[in-house]
């Protein structure tokens, strides 16, 4: 079943085109990341999914309905960017407020547990620390026991320990067969949390694939080594699977889809190479390459 459908959706703000004619479907049970640099159109897209913005052209459907209609909001939970919690309400009162909005809410204890806020139930929500505020926002998003969770840059500003804890909660959410849609420019997050990545840049979707495929297609691994041999860099460029070769003095940095094959050939051919390092690759490089190649129109 389609949770979200975008059909040739564009969004203009004045003369600035934030989203340019994008089309995609998100199915129930998927964990999807909208990945891209700032200004790529991720937040605009997620706000259209939630009915906070109307597309200039095209149609957006949430559960086959108009996302602006409150009735389609009973099964979703949302964490937005730059939102603070209200003043003069206790943590448990905030949670009860949200619980009252939904037809089948989770229990208060369950939500306090999810946010790790059991000890702060009677604290004023507004006075919580930054990290706890983020956890409260997550608990509020879960108040309606949602089938679909939307998160706009959920881990911005979180420390490493909070991120870990948060990712664990998300993983168990996805493990229950529910749908997760998040925007992020944290590549590790997209790779860890989702099974499908839509890479956005300049308002377009420039790649749509599982994280592994994105890494394979655009990333590869980086092999670094030192060598005094003349012409080796030039020769390697034509080897199968090699994407790029950078030379800095005696050091070569080879980007390849198959680091094992590259190393095997280097050793079997008897090249005099030292200080071999294999690393990097992954989504970070894929992302840099993707967004570099897709120059603005």
């Amino acid at each position: 079943m389609a949770v979200i459908e975008f059909d040739r959706v564009s969004k203009r703000f004045g003369t600035k085109e934030a989203v340019r004619s994008i089309t995609f479907r998100l199915e129930a049970g998927q964990a999807v990341a909208l990945l891209g640099p700032n200004g790529a159109g991720k937040t605009t897209s997620i706000q259209m999914m939630l009915g906070l913005l109307k597309p200039t052209q095209g149609t957006v459907a949430l559960f086959s309905h108009d996302p602006a209609h409150p009735a389609s909001h009973d099964r979703i939970g949302v964490v937005l960017q730059n939102v603070s919690v209200p003043e003069r309400l206790k943590v448990k009162e905030c949670l009860n407020l949200f619980r009252g909005f939904y037809a089948r809410p989770k229990s208060l204890d369950e939500l306090l547990d999810l946010g790790g806020l059991a000890e702060d139930a009677d604290a004023m929500a507004h006075a919580l620390s930054g990290g706890k505020t983020r956890r409260l926002q997550f608990a509020l998003a879960m108040a309606g026991n949602p089938d679909v969770l939307f998160m706009d840059e959920p881990t911005v500003g979180m420390d490493v320990a909070s991120k870990r804890h948060f990712w664990d909660s998300l993983r168990s959410f996805v493990g229950e067969g529910r749908t997760l849609v998040l925007t992020t420019h944290d590549l590790q997050e997209a790779d860890l949390m989702t099974d499908r990545i839509l890479v956005m840049n300049h308002g377009r979707i420039i790649a749509d694939a599982p994280p592994e495929a994105i890494k394979m297609q655009f990333g590869g691994r980086q092999v670094k080594f030192s060598s005094g041999a003349m012409g080796l860099a030039e020769a390697i460029k034509s080897w199968p699977g090699v994407l790029d070769v950078q030379v800095a003095g005696r050091q070569l940095a080879v980007l390849t889809q198959d680091s094992d094959a590259l190393l095997r050939r280097l050793f079997l051919d008897g090249h005099d190479i030292r200080d071999v390092e294999v690393g990097g690759g992954g989504l970070e490089e894929a992302f840099v390459r993707l967004t570099r190649e897709d120059a603005p129109v």
């Binding site: 937040t43 605009t44 009735a71 949302v78 209200p86 003069r88 309606g144 706009d152």
Partner: protein, 248 residues
């Protein structure tokens, strides 16, 4: 309905905890009443009634206008600025539900202010009216507060300027509308200005009821026109604001 009830409970709770609200909207009208009633004698005759009753209505309307224009405006501006309103729009609570909750909360506050000011006048100045008259006046001040709630919503759209703007509008309307000084003692130009102020049109029927005059339709019509104007302007600004991008 459930969502509205949940929102209303939270709004009431937050309002009761708001010290600013008590300072501005309860202490001020009650304090002014006690001060000014002892400067002029309460038994003074004015507009067919006693000064003690006349000024009781003045201060009740002054308090309600303050709660609506200033306190409501600032509260709405804060909720908008913090992104909280945007978040609520993604929940099953409809924007109508949100607005109704704010209006119902405001109505409870208005009633509280009127009752407190009237109680003070009754206890301190022994203002005495028939039961029917008390109810009529309370009901008018209560229901007639609608245009000021609409003005509060409008001021709530002013963002960071809401606090200053709300206080200025509140004090200017109260002064020019004759809520502090009866317009009978003001120069003629000021009287003409007062007659087009919503605050004057709001208090005028209540003063009239004190002197056994009925509610005049011109007052109701002018207040209705103000309400429509404020709501239309708020809707226009709302649409303009939605066309602006967020970050990312």
């Amino acid at each position: 309905m459930r969502a509205l009830w949940s929102q209303w409970k939270a709004d009431l709770l937050r309002t009761v905890r708001d010290r600013r609200f008590f300072a501005f909207t309860l202490v001020m009208p009650v304090g002014f009443y006690l001060i000014f009633i002892h400067i002029q004698h309460g038994t003074l005759q004015i507009a067919g009634t006693f000064w003690s009753a006349y000024f009781m209505v003045s201060m009740a309307t002054f308090g309600v206008v303050g709660a609506s224009v200033n306190t409501l405006g600032v509260r709405l501006a804060t909720e908008r600025k913090s992104g909280w309103v945007r978040w609520l729009r993604t929940t099953p609570l409809s924007s109508v539900g949100y607005a109704l909750s704010k209006i119902f909360t405001q109505m409870v506050l208005s009633l509280l202010i009127v009752v407190v000011v009237f109680l003070v006048a009754r206890l301190d100045q022994h203002v005495s009216l028939s039961a029917a008259k008390w109810i009529e006046i309370v009901l008018w001040i209560w229901i007639g507060s609608v245009p000021f709630a609409a003005l509060g919503v409008l001021i709530g759209m002013a963002g960071n300027a809401a606090q200053v703007l709300g206080t200025m509008v509140y004090l200017a309307l109260s002064l020019l509308g004759g809520l502090w000084t009866p317009i009978q003692v003001l120069p003629k130009t000021m009287q003409e200005i007062a007659r087009v102020m919503p605050t004057y049109r709001y208090a005028h029927p209540a003063w009239g009821l004190l002197a056994n005059r009925g509610i005049q339709w011109s007052d109701v019509l002018i207040l209705a026109a103000y309400t429509i104007g404020f709501v239309a302007l708020a809707a226009f600004i709302q649409r303009r604001m939605e066309a602006k991008p967020e970050a990312g």
